[in-house]
């Protein structure tokens, strides 16, 4: 008799737990306000990444097309993957002295692991994080970028 009773109480308990689970899923079905997904391409205009989001490495330029990079190559040395290459050139400055300045700051986005060592170690704060995250391109060579803009010069206050 006891076994008979257990048999049914077991079924009852089982069904109760199943109904509890269904209560949750059914509850969410009638709560469309809890939907958490983002409508990504539609909300592109309003979508803003966080300030410190690691999208890519960029070199900020001011209105006079001036950046802060001295071309010292510390970022190149610190990069674990060799995703930064710095080409320098010699130029005579206003005082007539020959100085080494950055010619091309080449950044291979495809090789970057976003560890942030280049930005952390940069002595003149020339590079920083950009918030772009849509990096899809049809040609891999487009992922190699030159960070300093053509014709840009170094800011005066930055010492080489």
């Amino acid at each position: 008799m006891n076994a008979f009773f257990n048999y049914f109480s077991e079924i009852g308990r089982g069904v109760k737990t199943l109904l509890k689970g269904m209560q949750i899923t059914n509850g969410y079905f009638f709560k469309p306000r809890e939907i958490v997904t983002q409508k990504y391409p539609e909300n592109r205009a309003t979508l803003k990444m966080f300030d410190q989001f690691k999208g890519e490495v960029i070199m900020p330029h001011d209105d006079n097309n001036q950046h802060r990079c001295t071309g010292c190559g510390i970022c190149e040395n610190n990069c674990p993957n060799g995703s930064i290459q710095i080409l320098t050139k010699k130029e005579t400055n206003a005082e007539g002295k020959a100085v080494r300045i950055v010619d091309k700051h080449i950044y291979h986005l495809s090789m970057c692991t976003f560890c942030g060592l280049c930005i952390k170690t940069c002595p003149s704060d020339a590079i920083t994080w950009g918030q772009t995250f849509e990096h899809a391109v049809f040609d891999r060579s487009k992922l190699t970028k030159v960070l300093n803009k053509p014709g840009s010069t170094i800011k005066k206050e930055v010492k080489g």
Binding site: K20, G21, F50, Q52, P80, T113, G116, K120, W129
Partner: protein, 373 residues
């Protein structure tokens, strides 16, 4: 037709199937070679190495700062403890004392990472057992944690945030309020996990008395983390060798004695509550101060051997470094928790069904890149 039947059955009447490397429930590129007798698993031979990247070899050509970003890629679901292990090792070798602020933040990040990792595990475990909705509920809640990560240090998965000497940059001013919002949210949502899965009769039937691991086995095989604690092996490094701020927070080491799949499940669920408790204690106690100590640009460890262990979401991560005084380590060895946790699966799954094998491998919470390194 006779010929074809022989092709399928193979030798010794054993029905051998390859589960993986591309299979929904191995969670990555892991391959099990199963010998079956009907539905019953006779033998499991795990094959790994499909995502072997030679991190240990790469470390021999990287400075200690650069090693940090490689450790991210081992256990990517709880990346902070991996970074922390190397950082602690370097700090110990150099005798650096990091500021209090760093210690507290590191602890909080580890616990947030653990929460997120356990939530993802819960999600995937439910899916392994066929409850597809759990996947989305788990990820939904994990998303809140990832948002906190993203706001403070810009990435959601591979943070490279904890570095020798402190942190890469300071936490975002919103960090505190975000965590404070998170705690009541999780307290509300976590009981749903129990309601949906833990209490469910199908779930308990499928997980109780499946894959029983004795405490002796757990110690002998070196099963650490929640999987080991499910068998009563008190292996929590946070308790045994408190690092960062774990010595001043009050939390329980969850221990279960059953050692079956359900016990391992229950340990992780209860650990989530403990993590929330730790966060609650620390969120108001983040002291002001520096987020890093001044380090030399090139770190050279004094000659010798160093060993540091931390508790990741999956168990004990040991970092063993041999230094010859150069800027690169002579040998860097990571004793990853999943590597040890994987190989008991043959013992656990024998005599159970294929469906149980999936449940057991899910309950061990394997992250394949952590096995292969």
């Amino acid at each position: 037709m006779v010929e074809k039947a022989e092709v399928i059955l193979g030798e010794n009447e054993q029905y051998v199937i390859n589960m993986g490397p591309q299979h929904p429930s191995t969670h990555g590129v892991l391959r099990f070679e199963l010998s079956l007798k009907g539905e019953i698993v006779d033998k499991v031979v795990p094959h790994c190495g499909y995502i072997h990247r030679g991190i240990e070899k790469m470390c021999e050509a990287n400075t200690y700062q650069q090693i940090i970003h490689l450790t991210d890629r081992m256990d990517y679901l709880s990346a902070h403890p991996n970074n922390e292990a190397v950082s602690l090792l370097v700090e110990k070798a150099l005798g650096i004392e990091v500021p209090e602020r760093v210690k507290v933040i590191r602890t909080m990040l580890s616990e947030l990472g653990r929460l997120g990792s356990h939530q993802l595990w819960w999600a995937a475990f439910g899916m392994d057992l066929g409850a597809l909705t759990t996947f989305f509920y788990g990820l939904r809640d994990r998303e809140k944690i990832l948002d906190i990560f993203e706001e403070s240090f810009g990435s959601r998965l591979l943070h490279s945030y904890i570095c020798p000497g402190g942190l890469m940059n300071d936490i975002h001013p919103n960090f505190k309020t975000r965590v404070k919002e998170l705690i009541p949210y999780l307290r509300k949502k976590l009981p749903e996990y129990d309601q949906l899965l833990t209490g469910n009769v199908i779930f308990t039937e499928r997980s109780k008395n499946i894959g029983i691991m004795t405490k002796e086995d757990a110690i002998s095989y070196g099963i650490t983390g929640p999987s080991g604690r499910g068998s009563g092996f008190a292996c929590d490094v946070r308790k045994a060798e408190p690092y960062s701020a774990y010595d001043r927070v009050d939390f329980k080491e969850i221990l279960m004695t059953e050692g079956d799949t359900f016990a391992r499940y229950q340990v992780r669920i209860l650990e989530m509550y403990e993590s929330i408790k730790i966060l609650e204690q620390l969120v108001d106690q983040i002291p002001d101060g520096d987020y890093t100590v001044k380090m030399k640009p090139i770190i050279k460890l004094p000659e010798g051997e160093y060993y540091q262990r931390v508790e990741t979401a999956r168990g004990e991560l040991g970092v063993y470094a041999v230094s010859t005084g150069e800027k690169f380590p002579d040998r860097m060895r990571f004793r990853t928790p999943n590597f040890s946790n994987l190989f008991i699966i043959d013992k656990l799954a024998r005599g159970h069904k294929i469906a149980d094998l999936v449940a057991i491998s899910g309950s061990l919470d394997l992250v394949i890149p952590d096995i292969d390194r």
